[in-house]
């Protein structure tokens, strides 16, 4: 039986981070993952991440995964792939299926970082082929290059539902509606705005009442729900779809921890059955740790920090790290974790409603109900007392109106036009005292695609708007298309006057359109004549 100082189960962001820290302290580390590719969920995340520089903000998820792998390799971590941990026994022994054999391994410390599994909900027809989890859709698209369907309805407006809806459109699917039983959008407003401006309608306080079809999904019926989430008769709406995506939350895959005999708790705020852990992830069994989603559903940025903490704690437990060094390094990680745990979407804010932002501005109700900012919101946020904004010459317009832990926009602007400040959840502010060169770095760095460059003086009677564009094919200069509003409504003709791709933009294309000057503050997206974004505009709704 092979022995290690540390065995890590799961090669996702938390498991790899834990392994890296422990190996750097001199431990022999083995990581087991059941997949053919390491990285866990990270390898499906093709979007740019939030956070700040230390959390690898504005970097696309799969790139963060590649960096972690290289670091693990360099630190001497042994990563076993296609290796499913089937059981965990007394004295830190694990049973692993590797290929066609069952092998035993033993270690002095174990970190369980098995992540989470998707929740399902039931409705008439939910077992029909074509009803899939949003994570499954993401796996099909981003790992295997398979389009899950042509016309998709998404249930769930949390970040997963929003992000996957956008990715479905990027893959060329049409998203006919985004539905959620809750009365307001659960995820970041900037993610919602990204799909609303492509024309996806939001149905809040609605749920799926039926998946239609005999052999596979051919349609879906949704109904409005009352305050107790009971469908209201007579409110049914029908959509022709071939795919129904469910993004209704994740549950920790904590079976190994339970099997090991850790004290478990049922904590709905952490996603279900989770181990009792201390601040470094140590369970009730000394030397056995849990890190990442398995110990409470959060996101990859905090999973990485928590993984690092467990790795260091495991090293200290075996004496590979002295107490003083451990305390110092953990204190730094605490600070990084704390900065992520702030703002309107912090774990401690779950279920709370915010009437105002930290800056005292009334939050946008339209964003929460329909996914986009209305004219009054724009007025309130753009012309707020703490920022100065120009209305001539090229200048940035930032439509980021919630307190989320994110600040790459501030780092992007070397001219000092954009300020977030020390508290990374503060709203970005524009300082018009510094002049904008129109370089576009802020647009490409914004994970929420919420920054636009506007020039009201482009030509007499015309304004130019530069916007982030992440669809293929890339529009060409001189092309004529349609300008869309924040809600995806056509506003009129738009001419592409510039298309910029730079390495520093990391695959985000900056498209500049020319529109009548009255549309300077309303046009926010571009639709080519032959529709690349997959949205055909008009939705078929039979009542």
């Amino acid at each position: 039986m092979k022995r290690y100082d540390l065995i890590v189960v799961g090669a996702g962001p938390s498991g790899l981070s834990a392994a890296i820290e422990a190996a750097r302290c001199g431990m022999s580390v083995a990581v087991f993952d059941e997949n053919a590719k390491p990285g866990g969920q990270l390898f499906k995340q093709i979007h740019k991440f939030f956070g700040s520089k230390e959390h690898q903000a504005k970097i696309r998820g799969f790139k963060i995964g590649e960096t972690l792998l290289a670091e693990a390799d360099e630190a001497g971590v042994e990563v076993f792939l296609n290796a499913t941990v089937a059981g965990i026994y007394l004295d830190k022994e694990v049973l692993v299926q590797i290929g066609a054999a069952m092998e035993h391994f033993k270690a002095d410390t174990i970190i369980i970082a098995t992540g989470a599994a998707e929740n399902m909900i039931t409705f008439d027809g939910w077992t029909l082929p074509g009803v899939i989890g949003a994570g499954a859709a993401q796996t099909m698209m981003n790992l295997y290059g398979i389009k899950p369907g042509q016309r998709v309805l998404m249930l769930g407006s949390g970040n997963v539902g929003l992000v996957v809806s956008f990715q479905l459109m990027q893959a060329g699917c049409e998203v006919v509606a985004l539905v959620d039983a809750a009365p307001k959008v659960g995820g970041y407003g900037v993610h919602a705005a990204k799909i609303a401006r492509c024309g996806v309608p939001f149905y809040l306080s609605h749920t799926i009442t039926k998946a239609e079809g005999s052999d596979c999904v051919s349609g879906v019926e949704i109904s409005q729900v009352d305050e107790d989430f009971i469908p209201i008769p007579g409110t049914q709406k029908h959509f022709d779809v071939d795919t129904i995506c469910l993004a209704v939350g994740l549950s920790p895959m904590s079976q190994l921890l339970k099997m090991a005999g850790c004290n478990m708790v049922d904590d709905p705020r952490r996603g279900g059955q989770v181990p009792q852990v201390d601040e470094n992830g140590e369970t009730s069994i000394p030397g056995l740790f849990a890190a990442g989603d398995v110990s409470g559903i959060e996101e990859a940025s905090s999973a990485m920090i928590k993984g690092r903490m467990s790795g260091l704690a495991a090293a200290a437990y075996l004496g590979f790290l002295n107490e003083q060094d451990k305390d110092n390094r953990l204190a730094d990680l605490e600070v990084a974790l704390d900065s992520l745990h702030q703002g309107m979407f912090a774990p401690g804010s779950k279920g709370k409603t915010f009437a105002k932002t930290d800056e005292g501005i009334a939050v946008s109700q339209s964003l929460l109900k329909k996914g986009y900012l209305d004219d009054a919101d724009i007025e309130r946020f753009i012309h707020r007392p703490d920022q100065t904004i120009k209305n001539s010459g090229i200048h940035p317009v930032i439509e980021c109106t919630q307190n989320i832990p994110c600040n790459p926009c501030q780092d992007a602007c070397t001219r000092g036009c954009i300020k977030v400040g020390k508290t990374i959840t503060a709203l970005p502010r524009i300082d018009a005292a510094n002049s904008c060169t129109g370089c576009g770095m802020c647009i490409a760095s914004c994970s929420g695609q919420a920054i636009f460059l506007v020039d009201e003086d482009y030509a007499p009677g015309y304004a130019s708007i530069t916007l982030p564009y992440e669809f293929l094919p890339r529009p060409q200069k001189g092309e004529l298309g349609t300008a869309l509003s924040r809600s995806g409504q056509p506003l009129g003709h738009a001419e592409i006057i510039d298309v910029r791709n730079a390495k520093a933009f990391d695959q985000t294309t900056l498209v500049t359109i020319k529109v009548p000057v009255e549309q300077a503050m309303t046009a926010r997206f571009y639709q080519p004549k032959t529709n690349a974004a997959g949205q055909s505009g008009k939705k078929e709704i039979r009542q």
Partner: protein, 109 residues
């Protein structure tokens, strides 16, 4: 607080519901009605439902239906789901073919 293990408690008669035919456990094809009936037959825990109906014993090992079954029991017993223990976790936690399970590496170093 009511004890879940009090088998003498009266949870009322089984009343059929319009969506009783919905499948809850996909792997073993167990319906909502069957699970609700089992609760009225006296199966008050997730483990008992597993043994009685095989719900959660199929290919995915309850990964999909575990929470759903728990919520159904909670609703019939009129308790909050957190009060119910989840099913016991046992090795192998993923389905393993018998020929693989039998092919155990037994070198003791």
């Amino acid at each position: 607080m009511k004890s879940i293990n009090d088998r003498s408690q009266d949870i009322g008669p089984f009343v059929s519901q319009t969506d009783d035919a919905i499948i809850i456990c996909r792997c073993e094809e167990i319906t909502k009605g069957e699970i609700r009936q089992a609760i009225h037959d006296g199966m008050f825990t997730v483990n008992e439902i597993r043994r009685y109906l095989r719900a959660g014993m199929g290919l995915c090992q309850g990964q999909t239906c575990g929470k759903l079954v728990k919520n159904l029991i909670a609703r019939e017993l009129n308790v909050i789901p957190d009060q119910l223990d989840p099913a016991t976790s046992r090795s192998p936690m993923r389905p393993v073919e018998m020929k693989v399970l039998g092919n155990e590496e037994v070198s003791h170093v």
